[in-house]
């Protein structure tokens, strides 16, 4: 046999040939036509590869001695290589078709990157065998056959080819595939026989051996065993059940690493160890299951509330008489004009005189519309219309009698209210006519006589017992106390304040001037100086002008406090305001100022306010700095005696009206056996100092009737706060109205702050159709929310023209 082979020795003269020289010799031999070569190798590199010079002629290379690394590398399909013993690393590297038989063990890197051909190993192999092998569709897949076991990291990145590991005399009989085989495998098959220690499950999978596979295996096994001359093993190795087959996972299978689902982990591991409900199942029974972002019902973060009339309208809150002005506009809108007019009578006996003419209308000053540059709804229009208000129905008398001293607005208000509630009020007044300063001092230019007369007549029909022209002394009060259940002092401030100046006898008081002016009983000179530039001073100036004065000067020590109609009218007649001016002396020439300047005057009127005349009060009634001291309910230090109006604290007419109403309420409550301010109607809370802005209140004087006190007091009886104007949507109203034509237009343009207009915009805007209007008894109704539909978006609150809807945080859970 040997004689058939052309022998090439790996050494010459006892010296090992370089791999390059041996390669040259082999290539030359093939070129020279030799087709059977015997290489006596001495570890040279790459023996047997690249024999393409033989073309399609088969070339047989037998390697004896020590085959080096990469035996048969870049092998060509014509080549058959037989290694007669073991082989070093990388046998069959990048083999492109050679058949290589190794009659011993193979080292590391067996068949790395092999693409075609076969490697038959008769023993075990080292690590990283069959790595990066591939299969080109143009050729048969490469095959690697191993009789024993393979080393670690077998088949890494294997992309094709077939590997057969027979497990005969395996180096590692417990694990014929070695450590971490088939990582990164993307193609090919691995038949193996014997136990394995696992392989990359992400890349490869065990599959059943099909009949076709088995047929291929048995047929080729015979060839393999023949090549390695171990056909004796055929019978042992063809026991089908001993074989297993691994194949690569397809790309679409690779992502699907079979791991336990978290749900399964929760149920079978987590809850099993911790108990039902997991980590905190023992600490809470709250539902913790997931919810969507926009839940309804109980899981809403916010809940809309139809807070109809929860807050006062700003007009109502600003009115010292407490008239719900917006409610009157509602009645106008509803066509109930008579009711709108009559409504005011529950609050004031002077709805026309005061609301329509004399009041500076704090309601209008407070009107929400102004924050959007719109003119306020004109209360004076409905005020003037209230002249038509009829006499209210009067209840039967209770038998309780109250004496009211003074018929000014405060006294009339309290008497009016007491009578409306069924108690008899007897007015005592020194003056000829009812109305106090309204009747006696305020110029007719400001209040038409027929309006005042008409309202006073209405009052007379209600307050039937009037004793006029009664002066009052201290002892009279004691008598009255015996005759009446309560006494109310409302004598006002009638004593003009004056100044202790040289020449003060030349002064005329404003009250004297205005009282005389009403009957044209005074003739001012051409030049009139008024000391004190308030609204009364303005009235003096206006009346003086009417009566012929030409030059009108109002002086004050500070910026004039005059405002509104009074000031407008004074300025219209040419009154000049000067300040600060400190008067030193009054002379025949006029007013001498501290600066030495003389303001020439024919008539000098002093108008620096009035103080109460308290001389008639008994000792039992305490006073404070010239005014009567009263409690929160206008009770004096004598519990049977109350005091209201300017004798308690100077204020507007409407302040006096309001104080009268509140005092009447307190008296009625006492008569009914209640404690005023303590027994509050249901739903009303007691006065709480925390609700009062401390900046505006002197805590030491909280009992005192200060002007701020009215505000607090309002809170005591009606604890509702004024609505936040920002809640009202004024965009619904026409901003170009510069003047209201009539009460109907006023009503249509009133935003009805805090009180439902029944417009239904909330129903329309609700994206969930969760809001509906539910009729109640009569004309009453309410808007209700279906919690199961509502998502708490607050659109109702945003769209509501009146600011009725409010969005509140839902009830806390788990606290």
């Amino acid at each position: 046999m040997d004689s058939e082979f052309y022998t090439i020795a790996g050494q010459e003269n006892g010296n090992r040939l370089e791999s390059r020289i041996l390669e040259e010799k082999i290539q030359q031999a093939v070129e020279a036509g030799h087709r059977a070569l015997k290489i006596e190798a001495l570890g040279q590199h790459g023996i047997g590869g690249r024999l393409w010079k033989a073309g399609d002629d088969p070339v047989h290379v037998r390697i004896e001695g020590n085959a080096g690394q990469r035996t048969g590398s870049l092998g060509y399909p014509n080549t058959f290589i037989e290694v007669m013993g073991p082989v070093s690393d990388d046998v069959g590297w990048l083999n492109a078709g050679a058949e290589i038989v190794v009659h011993g063990n193979a080292g590391n890197g067996l068949a790395n990157a092999m693409a075609q051909g076969k490697v038959y190993v008769a023993g075990n192999t080292g690590s990283r065998g069959m790595t990066m092998t591939k299969s080109n569709p143009r050729f048969a897949p490469p095959e690697v056959w191993v009789l024993g076991s393979v080393g670690d990291y077998f088949g890494e990145f294997m992309a094709g080819g077939i590997s057969v590991i027979c497990g005969v005399n395996a180096q590692n009989p417990d694990d014929v595939l070695g450590y971490r085989p088939l990582v990164g495998m993307v193609g090919g098959k691995v038949f193996f026989r014997g136990p394995h220690g696992g392989f990359s499950q992400t890349d490869a999978k065990l599959i059943p051996i099909s009949d076709e596979d088995w047929q291929w295996l048995t047929e080729n096994l015979a060839v393999y065993l023949d090549r390695i001359q171990r056909s004796d093993l055929l019978e042992i190795l063809t026991v089908r059940e001993e074989w297993q087959l691994i194949t690569a996972r397809a790309p679409h299978e690779k992502g699907l690493v079979q791991r336990r689902s978290m749900t399964s982990f929760y149920k079978k591991v987590w809850e099993k160890e911790l108990g039902l409900g997991g980590l905190i199942g023992d600490l809470t029974n709250l539902d913790r299951s997931p919810i969507p972002l926009i839940p309804t019902g109980e899981m809403r973060r916010f809940v809309p509330v139809w807070a109809n009339r929860k807050y006062k309208a700003p007009c109502e809150a600003a009115c010292p008489s407490g008239i719900p002005v917006h409610d009157r506009w509602r009645l106008i809108r509803e066509g109930r004009v008579d009711e709108a007019v009559d409504l005011a009578l529950a609050y004031t006996p002077f709805p026309a005189t005061i609301c329509g003419y004399l009041c500076p209308n704090p309601c209008m000053q407070a009107c929400t519309r102004q924050i959007n540059e719109m003119i306020p709804v004109d209360t004076s229009q409905i005020g003037k219309a209230s002249i038509k208000a009829g006499v209210p129905e009067l209840p039967e008398l209770s038998g309780k009698r109250i004496a009211v001293i003074g018929s000014g607005p405060a006294g009339l208000s309290i008497a009016w209210q007491l009578r409306l509630k069924g108690h008899e009020a007897v007015i005592y007044d020194r003056s000829k006519i009812l109305g106090g300063k309204i009747s006696s001092l305020i110029p007719e230019s400001r209040i038409p006589k027929e309006v005042l007369t008409s309202e006073l007549e209405r009052i007379r029909k209600v307050i039937s017992h009037v004793n006029l022209q009664q002066g009052l002394e201290k002892e009279d009060l004691e008598c009255l106390k015996n005759d009446f259940d309560f006494i109310v002092l409302a004598t006002g401030a009638q004593k003009p304040r004056t100044l202790p100046l040289p020449g003060k006898e030349l002064l005329m008081t404003a009250n004297d001037f205005l009282g005389a002016a009403r009957t044209d009983d005074v003739r001012p000179g051409n030049r009139v100086v008024v000391i004190g530039a308030g609204n009364v001073g303005c009235d003096v100036a206006t009346e003086a002008h009417r009566l012929g004065a030409k030059e009108l000067t109002l002086i004050d020590v500070q910026k004039p406090t005059a405002f509104g109609k009074e000031r407008d009218e004074a300025e219209a007649v040419g009154a000049v305001f000067r300040w600060p001016c400190f008067t030193k002396e009054i002379t025949k020439q006029g007013v001498v100022l501290d600066s030495g300047e003389v303001l020439a005057a024919d008539t000098v009127v002093i108008s620096i306010g009035d103080v109460p005349d308290l001389d008639f009060l008994p000792e039992s009634i305490k006073t404070d700095r010239g005014f009567v001291r009263v409690s929160e309910i206008f009770q004096t230090s004598d519990p049977h005696i109350f005091a209201v109006g300017d004798m308690v604290r100077p204020g507007l007419l409407t302040d006096a009206i309001g104080a009268g109403r509140k005092t009447a309420t307190a008296i009625c409550e006492i008569i009914d056996g209640k404690r005023p301010l303590m027994d509050l109607p249901a739903g009303r809370s007691r006065f709480d100092p925390k609700n009062v802005d401390p900046k505006n209140v002197d805590p030491d004087n909280i009992d005192l009737a200060t002007s701020e006190y009215y505000g607090i007091h309002e809170n005591v009886w009606d604890t509702r706060e004024a609505i936040d104007k920002a809640r009202v949507s004024l965009e619904y109203f026409d901003p170009r109205i510069t003047e209201f034509e009539d009460p109907e237009q006023c009503g249509s343009q009133c935003a009805s702050c805090g009180s439902c207009r029944d417009c239904g915009i909330c129903v329309s805007i609700c994206p969930q159709a969760a809001i509906s209007r539910e009729p109640k008894s009569g004309v009453d109704y309410e808007y209700v929310v279906n919690a199961d539909k509502c998502i708490g978006c607050g659109f109702c609150a945003g769209a509501c023209p009146c600011g009725v809807w409010e969005l509140v945080a839902n009830e806390p859970i788990g606290l």
């Binding site: 982990f265 929760y266 859970i813």
Partner: protein
């Protein structure tokens, strides 16, 4: 909004706000979802009046002026309701009609959110995008010089040691004399840092714990999570999952009496005890859980009555020096479990870190040192603490490591780094950089909140309302109406995903270094940066 209104010094316009709501009238369907979901009520339905003047071409007929009213979404400008940019409105909008846009200039809000003299507080992050860690490159790609490994194929032992490792001679001597050998845990180097039950919502906390347990038991990754200060649910204390838990004790000691009661019933020891002395987000400041968050559940876990505020002092009150802290706290906590559990302190990164570390090196009970850098997150802190206080982590960990090297103890006392790790999303790169600078492991907080639960913070002052219980994703809320948006199982699954992908990325970094069986702790020759001064300071290569 009335146009002609008086203004106050703090009257702001939409333009002044840091986040501006862009609302598209054409697309909006007025469904109410955006206003319903907005966590801070920054938007509301508005009524708008529109005026149209109609004039004919040529003015042949009289013109008219018509008002129309329309409804739409309006942004509030009151600083108390300013948009936080969370974009939950965008999330719920069916028509993509609304989204917050970051203002194109510095917002004016910052000057006004101190009403009543109360400086702004927030949760979340420092809001400084980017940072040093993101600039560090891994420049050593071994290829032929070391056996280059393949991250996909090769097996890696990406584990680290938590615990004191004695020098070999001492260890042998102790072993021979049956002396005490400090406990050491072999754990995954990415630790979920301390976030308390209370700071986090129930599903978030449970989800994190569940994910950690899954990683340990289903994937064999020894991941650990620190409880934060606020106790530990009793069931967890009595379960085998406790071995995956690092219990934290901080200056408020909340929940610790419950833990003591549970010790006799514990099946396993906890992984370790972390003593919190400081945190990176608010160095020198204590924690505060507001009373309104202390509901029945939180109260039960912390062992307190409901409805009381739970402040933690800025320091442990009975300790006045490092020596005292080490002597008292570490020993006390070691004794609790019979010296079987590693105990280590956590401090905020500080210029005084070396003083702490040097002390720890002299105390064999100290199992390590965790340092939390300035970029750490928090549930609640003053702006001033978050923005301006603290120390960057890179130099602090580097100095500490080099100090250990100088002492020859770099393999004996592990350093753990935290604070802004992965804040720009580069978790593996940041973690690897810190490890190669000398950390034995890193702690993450914000990253896991973002990745596992969709936290919306983004270093641009977006959202950042962890402190007020209104977390839009339900991560930091105790209100079931909010936290039920979050599903614990889904959080757990995300934790698993995060760790698996992190693992691959970390391998991609360390494989080219030829490292597979030990973390490249302190292997700073692999690091480079294109900033010369930084390279000098960190003692790493300057590469351009």
């Amino acid at each position: 909004m009335p146009s002609n209104r008086p203004i106050t010094p703090s009257s702001l316009s939409v333009k002044d706000l840091p986040w501006q709501i862009h609302w598209n009238k054409d697309k909006c369907t007025l469904c109410g979802s955006c206003t319903a979901v907005c966590p801070v009520n920054a938007i509301e339905l508005g009524v708008f009046r529109k005026r149209i003047v109609e004039t004919e071409l040529g003015i042949n007929s009289s013109s008219s002026s018509v008002f129309k009213v329309y409804h739409g979404v309006r942004q509030k400008t009151d600083p108390a309701y300013s948009c936080i940019g969370c974009a939950m409105c965008s999330q719920v909008c069916p028509n993509d009609a609304i989204s917050p846009i970051k203002s194109d200039e510095a917002g004016k809000l910052a000057f006004h959110i101190n009403r009543g003299g109360q400086p702004r507080r927030r949760g979340g992050r420092r809001n400084v995008p980017g940072g040093l860690l993101d600039q560090i490159k891994f420049i050593r790609i071994s290829m032929l010089t070391d056996p280059a490994l393949d991250a996909g194929r090769h097996e890696f032992e990406l584990r680290t040691l938590l615990g004191r490792v004695l020098p070999p001679e001492e260890s042998i001597a102790h072993f021979k004399s049956n002396g005490w050998i400090p406990p050491v845990r072999e754990i995954y180097p990415l630790i979920i840092g301390s976030m308390s039950f209370g700071a986090l919502s129930p599903p978030m906390w449970e989800g994190l714990q569940m994910g950690v347990a899954y990683l340990n038991e289903e994937i064999n990754m020894p991941v650990r999570m620190c409880t934060g200060e606020g106790g530990c649910p009793p069931r967890l204390l009595r379960s085998r999952f406790l071995q995956y838990v690092i219990l934290q004790i901080a200056s408020g000691y909340f929940g610790w009496d419950e833990i003591i009661h549970a010790i006799p019933k514990m099946k396993v020891d906890p992984c370790a005890i972390e003593i919190k002395y400081g945190q990176g987000a608010k160095p020198g400041d204590g924690g505060l859980l507001m009373w309104n968050k202390v509901n029945k559940l939180i109260a039960a876990i912390r062992g307190v009555p409901t409805g009381v505020s739970l402040p933690s002092p800025p320091t442990h009150q009975t300790q006045y020096s490092i020596e005292e802290s080490v002597a008292k706290m570490i020993q006390s906590m070691s004794m609790a479990w019979g010296f079987r559990v590693p105990v280590y302190p956590k401090i905020s990164a500080t210029s005084t870190a070396l003083a702490v570390l040097n002390n720890l090196t002299r105390n064999s009970y100290a199992a390590g040192l965790a340092i939390d850098g300035e970029d750490g997150g928090t549930g609640a802190a003053y702006d001033i603490s978050m923005n301006s206080m603290g120390h960057p982590i890179a130099t602090n960990i580097r100095d500490s490591y080099l100090n250990l090297v100088a002492l020859g103890k770099q393999n004996e006392i592990p350093l753990f780094a935290g604070g802004g790790v992965g804040k720009s999303g580069n978790l593996a790169a940041n973690a690897a950089a810190l490890i190669m600078l000398g950390a034995s492991g890193v702690q993450i907080g914000k990253y896991i909140m973002q990745a596992a639960a969709g936290c919306l913070g983004s270093e641009t002052d977006r959202c950042n309302i962890c402190n007020i219980g209104l977390c839009p994703k339900g991560i930091t809320s105790q209100d079931p109406r909010i936290y039920r948006r979050l599903n614990a199982e889904e959080v757990a699954q995300r934790v698993v995903d995060v760790y698996l992908s992190f693992d691959t990325e970390l391998k991609k970094i360390v494989a080219p270094l030829g490292r597979s069986t030990s973390l490249p702790i302190g292997m700073s020759d692999a690091l480079g940066i294109n900033d010369f001064n930084v390279s000098e300071r960190l003692n790493i290569k300057y590469v351009v």
